[in-house]
């Protein structure tokens, strides 16, 4: 018994010593890695050859065709698709890990519009001189704004997205209302008129997305921007402790209190709210354009097919302000062949490619001209209101610590909507929290 234990101790010592060697090696490499960073990110856009394109899972099946079009024209500078998970957080995580390893595995990154500041501040993506993007002036200005950090361009917007107000035309017409509401007060008045109809039994007035997740940040931002407030002002300072912001938040809080917004909406993400609208439980719904074709399906999954239309979001005194969605393409700082990369991005940003993309996937383009194309308008009847929505849209807060900022916004908004914290206290607490997150 005893001798077994004594030599076990001896071998344990060998193991510990071995791992200490490993540890020393790890420390060494870690320090080397962190001390030499950053210098490569301001380099010129040079180098030609094969590149890779990292993007979230392509659910449409159309992306390979786009890439094939590029590859056919550029046999020596082929692009290879690197498909990341469907979930946005998982995509960001993989891109961050690659950047921290200074890997050149991804050349072009397909980034959510809210990541730009974090990636640019960490010098994970390369600054792009504006003269390298010839069509930049033809894109909707709000979308170009999402790709900028401290007034410098770090990406090119390829797709956009804006919130729309879906409304039940059949019920509004029956109640004698001709046009969709432009303000919140008009919307609530319309609801009261419709509520007297027998068809409106068991229906609620309005819903957006109010579960504690990114969608809540979007809906909260829209409410505040639509009332004339800001979360972060033009100088990048938090600015939520204002009468305008309070008016915006109170509109949502009162909606929950009076029942205009159903209680269950606090658990709604995009899909739950879409289902509620499709099941005929909502008169008005705030959601993205993707809902249009699903709610119009005549296979029995939707009870409102052909009975609804879309309009820009309502606001406090006039049309509301949407939050901008969409994706920008950026270049990994540590990648090779950046000259090819910028050519590829320009190719994907071109009017022809964007038109092909919307036709196949119904993703909103960033070219202003495409929204006025009659054939596209016929195919996608929501294009005109969507253009209005995107033209007036504002980006969500452009901050380096976006993850922390959006979590703070969600916490404040959620507590206010739940009725556990008064709106003005929620906003003043949020202001304090944002100041600590944004100042340094």
């Amino acid at each position: 018994m005893r001798f077994e234990r004594s030599h076990a101790r001896g071998t344990a010592f060998v193991a510990v010593a071995g791992s200490l060697v490993l540890l020393a090696a790890a420390c060494g490499s870690g320090d080397n890695g962190s001390s030499s960073g950053g210098s490569s990110s301001t380099g010129a856009l040079d180098g030609r050859g094969p590149i890779t394109f990292a993007t979230g899972k392509d659910t449409s099946g159309f992306l390979p065709k786009q890439l094939a079009a590029w590859n056919a024209a550029h046999p020596n500078e082929k692009v290879e698709l690197k498909e990341l998970p469907e979930d946005a957080d998982a995509q960001r995580q993989q891109m961050v890990q690659n950047a921290q390893a200074k890997s050149d595995a991804f050349t072009v990154l397909n980034m959510d519009v809210v990541w730009t500041s974090e990636f640019a501040a960490n010098q994970w993506i390369t600054q792009i001189p504006e003269d390298k993007v010839p069509d930049l002036g033809k894109l909707i200005p709000a979308t170009v704004e999402t790709a900028k950090y401290r007034d410098k361009l770090y990406g090119v917007p390829i797709t956009s997205d804006g919130g729309l107000l879906y409304y039940r035309t059949d019920l509004l017409t029956k109640a004698g209302i001709a046009a969709p509401p432009k303000t919140w007060d008009e919307m609530l008045a319309d609801c009261q008129k419709v509520a007297t109809l027998p068809e409106a039994k068991g229906m609620s007035c309005y819903s957006g997305q109010f579960e504690k997740y990114e969608g809540l940040t979007v809906n909260f931002s829209e409410a505040i921007n639509s009332a004339g407030g800001d979360i972060v002002d033009k100088d990048g300072k938090p600015n939520v402790n204002t009468p305008e912001a309070k008016a915006g938040l109170e509109e949502l809080v009162n909606g929950f209190k009076t029942g205009a917004i159903p209680k269950a909406a606090i658990t709604y993400k995009e899909e739950e709210s879409r289902r509620a609208f499709q099941d005929g439980k909502l008169l008005f719904l705030r959601n993205w354009p993707y809902v249009y074709s699903l709610a119009n399906k005549t296979d029995g999954s939707s009870k409102v097919a052909g009975k609804f239309a879309v309009a820009p979001l309502p606001g406090k005194t006039g049309p509301g302000v949407s939050s901008l969605g969409g994706h920008d393409y950026a270049i990994n700082s540590f990648a090779k062949n950046k000259a090819t990369a910028i050519d590829f991005i320009n190719f994907m940003a071109s009017e022809a490619r964007q038109k092909a993309n919307i036709e196949a996937t119904s993703q909103a383009p960033t070219w202003a001209s495409l929204y006025d194309d009659p054939t596209l308008q016929k195919q996608f009847p929501y294009l005109a209101p969507l253009k209005a929505s995107i033209l007036g849209a504002k980006p969500r807060p452009k901050v380096v610590k976006y993850g922390d900022v959006t979590a703070a916004i969600q916490a404040a908004a959620y507590d206010a909507l739940n009725g556990t914290v008064a709106p003005d206290k929620a906003l003043s607490d949020l202001q304090t929290k944002l100041q600590s997150l944004i100042t340094n």
């Binding site: 004594s6 540890l23 960073g37 960490n122 997740y213 658990t267 380096v400």
Partner: protein
């Protein structure tokens, strides 16, 4: 050998010859075992030490004049640890600590009671016993993330659960109901695990013991308390210990079923994940280390106080001393059960 060494060793019981034998085999054993130990060092020891090291550093917290993050990581000593306990993060930490402990205590107690009941049912001989055993084990076979999605669907605003109880409870919002939904889902999933291990323990109890009890005139309750429970205790303790360790690091069930950043169900693992997702690896490693220490302390106390025999060392340590024959036998049953449990939890809970 030198003359002095045996003189010094003389008081020790071992004779000289055996000592030399030990040295030879010791070296051979060290050579033969070193690949295994090296692999263990790489996959177990190295990550722990690397995490400990990481928890003493911070990076990327400041911007320079151009708005770029200052590169390089900075040694901050124990600051990541002290930051956990103070201010806003302290409030968040103690809330998560409470939630983690709450889930562990409530879930494991419920699972143990239900698990033992299931094992007793499964051990009975009746028609269709195979089907009952298989169906009880189905929840355990489903990956946690999948069962979390399943329960999310059950608990949603217009879900089945609300339809059954006839009122609209918003399960995924903050409050007692979200805690309850986690307890229900976790108990549903893992009570069968305890049932499985206890069943294995039950089957090592010889039928003669029960026959003897019957002859002595013991009723069912006495038989359960005096025979079944003591004899099944080693297996049960191992099962409970594994469940405690699993529940202390619970992550996927609250994360998927209720959601991130919800105070009512946020656990220590979720805090570490959240820090890492926001690229603060130092504080994330500190959270993970605090959780690691908490798990280790709980496991140590559990083993010391209740005497759970996880690796069968009791048999090796005291061959015959003190323990009565019956006791020794049930301790012998434990190692194989412990090994079975280990391979089971390896699948991920």
């Amino acid at each position: 050998m030198t003359v002095s060494a045996p003189v010094a060793e003389r008081p020790v019981r071992k004779p000289k010859r055996q000592q030399r034998f030990d040295e030879g085999t010791g070296r051979l054993a060290a050579i033969l075992l070193s690949p295994t130990l090296l692999v263990l060092a790489v996959v177990v020891l190295f990550p722990i030490i690397a995490a400990l090291r990481e928890s003493l550093f911070q990076s990327g917290q400041h911007l320079d004049a151009n708005g770029f993050v200052v590169q390089g990581s900075q040694f901050v000593g124990l600051r990541n640890y002290t930051d956990i306990f103070k201010g806003d993060t302290g409030h968040r930490f103690w809330n998560a600590f409470y939630n983690t402990t709450f889930f562990t205590v409530v879930c494991v107690v419920l699972e143990t009671v239900l698990g033992v009941a299931m094992a007793l049912v499964m051990a009975k001989a009746f028609k269709g016993r195979g089907i009952v055993r298989a169906s009880i084990l189905v929840p355990w076979a489903i990956p946690t993330v999948i069962s979390a999605l399943l329960w999310k669907w059950v608990f949603q605003a217009d879900g089945i659960f609300n339809a059954i109880i006839g009122t609209q409870v918003l399960w995924s919002t903050e409050g007692w109901q979200s805690k309850l939904s986690i307890v229900i889902a976790d108990t549903w999933k893992t009570a069968p695990f305890i049932g499985l291990l206890v069943l294995a323990g039950l089957q090592t109890i010889p039928a003669e013991v029960y026959e003897a009890a019957k002859v002595d005139g013991a009723n069912a309750w006495q038989t359960f308390l005096r025979i079944t429970m003591p004899l099944v205790k080693p297996a049960l303790l191992v099962a409970v210990l594994f469940r405690i360790l699993d529940t202390l690091r619970i992550f996927d069930l609250p994360f998927v079923l209720v959601g991130a950043h919800k105070d009512s169900v946020e656990t220590l693992s979720m805090l570490a994940f959240d820090e890492a997702a926001n690229v603060r690896y130092g504080p994330a490693a500190a959270y993970a280390t605090v959780l690691f220490v908490y798990v280790a302390v709980v496991a140590y106390l559990f083993v010391k106080i209740l005497g759970a025999d996880v690796i069968g060392e009791a048999r090796a340590k005291k061959p015959g001393g003190g323990a009565k024959g019956k006791r020794r036998r049930d301790r012998e049953a434990a190692p194989s059960i412990g090994a079975a449990a280990a391979s089971n939890t390896g699948m991920g809970v």
